[in-house]
């Protein structure tokens, strides 16, 4: 027996109680990249199976929201849109906000929704939230096409807006929204395996948060005493930058974007640590 033990000291896998909180097993995640793509494909295909309008549903939601917002906030309430055409202003906010909101709400139920799969098969758990963020990215891409089409229409009828060089930051903005949504979602899903209360908070919390963000009004139109408060919301900097990049209006500054980036990073790290800790034993508690 001794000789057997000696010759096989090189193990491929050692399972122990504790691994480091920040051991994300990224190499393993990379090994399972095909699985990530399969999940994305599954989400995309199953979304419009057995619907008549199919992928058109990706457009309908932002389009109708924009129409309602234009009617309620633009016409009835008469909120300022910084001199931009109202539909364009709202659509920009909605498109960006939807991506962030979808990332949060979908990742926040990742343990609950996949308890069955997680209880039966091992794969790096991080694949699941990453696939959610990626499938939402596909959706976001499709909705960006709608936004660009509406932009083209307003350019054609001579509306006043301009694309600025900040558009080069677009990929960074996407990453920030993705990571912020992912981070918050991970924190929530990790906590909801034990304390279900949080899951009730998510959907309406996200909705309330939208009003704390500059989706339906520009930061410049907010009362001065509240601007600081609204600016504390990391999404504000991102949405303002997004609008500035595509439409040329918005309080775009390196400081506010830097602040958003720092908060995003902190939340992401916290979320990953929480998720990692929960992931190892959640099957026993869920």
């Amino acid at each position: 027996m001794q000789s057997i033990a000696d010759e096989s000291e090189s193990w491929d896998l050692v399972i122990e109680r504790r691994s480091s909180l920040f051991d994300l097993k990224l190499s393993e995640v990379w090994l399972y990249r095909d699985l990530l793509l399969m999940f994305v494909k599954r989400d995309f295909v199953s979304f419009y199976k057995q619907t008549i309008l199919g992928p058109l549903w990706f457009f309908i939601q932002p389009l109708f929201t924009t129409i309602i917002f234009t009617f309620v906030f633009g016409n009835l309430a008469g909120l300022s849109t910084d001199g931009l055409p109202q539909p364009l202003f709202y659509l920009a906010g909605i498109t960006a906000w939807n991506y962030f909101a979808d990332c949060i709400t979908k990742t926040s139920t990742v343990f609950k929704d996949n308890a069955n799969i997680f209880g039966k098969v091992y794969f790096p758990r991080l694949i699941m939230p990453l696939s959610i963020v990626t499938s939402n990215l596909v959706r976001f891409g499709v909705q960006m096409l709608l936004f660009l089409a509406v932009m083209a229409y307003f350019a054609a009828i001579g509306a006043e807006f301009r694309i600025t060089s900040a558009i080069l930051l677009f990929p960074v903005l996407i990453l920030m929204m993705a990571f912020l949504g992912l981070g918050l979602g991970l924190i929530i899903t990790a906590m909801t395996t034990k304390y279900r209360d949080l899951s009730f908070l998510v959907t309406f919390g996200v909705q309330l948060l939208m009003y704390m963000t500059t989706v339906i009004y520009p930061l410049s139109a907010a009362p001065v005493q509240y601007r600081q408060l609204i600016g504390l919301n990391p999404m504000t900097g991102i949405i303002e930058a997004f609008r500035y990049a595509f439409l040329g209006k918005g309080e775009f500054s390196a400081w506010s974007l830097g602040y958003s980036a720092a908060v995003t990073l902190a939340i992401l790290i916290l979320g990953l640590a929480f998720f990692n800790k929960t992931e190892r034993n959640f099957v026993d508690t869920v």
Partner: protein, 411 residues
Amino acid sequence: MTLAIKVENLSKAYQIGQIGTGTISRDFERWWVTRVRGKEDPFLKLGETNETKVKGGSNVIWSLKDINFEIEQGDAVGIIGRNGAGKSTLLKLLSRVTSPTSGTIKIKGRVASLLEVGTGFHPELTGRENIYLNGSILGMRKKEIDRKLDEIVDFSGVERFIDTPVKRYSSGMSVRLAFAVAAHLESEILIVDEVLAVGDAEFQKKCLGKMNDVSSKEGRTILFVSHNMSAIRNLCGKGVLIVNGAIRHYGDIEETISRYLTSNSENSLNFPLELGDIVIEKVEYKHAGLNHQLSFDCIALKQASMEYYLKLSVKTAYDEIVFENSQIVETSIPHVGSTIIYESDLAFLQNADYKVYLTVFEHGGRWLLRDAFLLGLTKYIPRNGSVDHFGLVSPMGSWSTQIHRTYSTTQ
């Protein structure tokens, strides 16, 4: 020979009772005691065993306790034990679904675990799409699946429906498809939990055949959990017997199975068993030459007011009756305390698992099915020897009495 799996001092504790309400304060207390003050976790009391019937002092149960074993490459190992003994926990730990409370598992090679067939199947996707999805979940790369797609489809036998959504499949078809994917995994170690309990007999045979190929021809390591002793005997060369979260025996499969069967009749038969007015003192298997007899010693408790009938029926695992027999217990005999010996010859049984029902009827103008009880019976023939042998097992983990009470027909 080199080792494929080495398990050292492995333990897993579960909290029983209510989890999830009012635990914030307890979680905080636990964190405070263990992390900040560096003391032992008060919620993990040591020294309690996993015994489902005995109520322990704490609400923590050790599903596995200090398990040590080694598995060599190419071995097919059957894991047996009663329900709740810790078999599934062991498989979950080995397949990394949950992590151990203490101890380590060292593994050499890729592990594929089949704790369920068809994990992650999406009803809206087609069979082909689900092959890719399920394969990826089980750890296959896309290229690998591309290469094996034809083979998988062929094995499953659902070519005609491969581009139809799985929700239109019969349950048998989706199981076939799922097993076909799993059977083509290229891992060095395969962990299988009773997934063969699904599908028809023919398909089960096909699965067992495939798993046999995997272990004997391809030299891969298999861990197999099942209550089906004949399947385990066909497939495995070695066995692990788990009793109350500890390893009772590890070695040759025949030895392990017979220990399991004897441990069962010792532990779970709570004789005397009361069935109406009759008490079963003991159940005995007698073997003499070519005759196999199962006998029940019964004692009448009360003065009988009517005739008693005892019926023995033997059913297969699928509840098909293979044998039925009834015997009148004469009215004159059961004065209080007298013994009835009821015997039945079982030589005709095939090498398989059976269920045995013993029913007590009483006769008083009408037939009334008074009580029935269920025994598990396994007949198997050791590979090396020629001696037939019966073992009595309880498939439910405990003996159940009084299953039917309300069945009655007029004569």
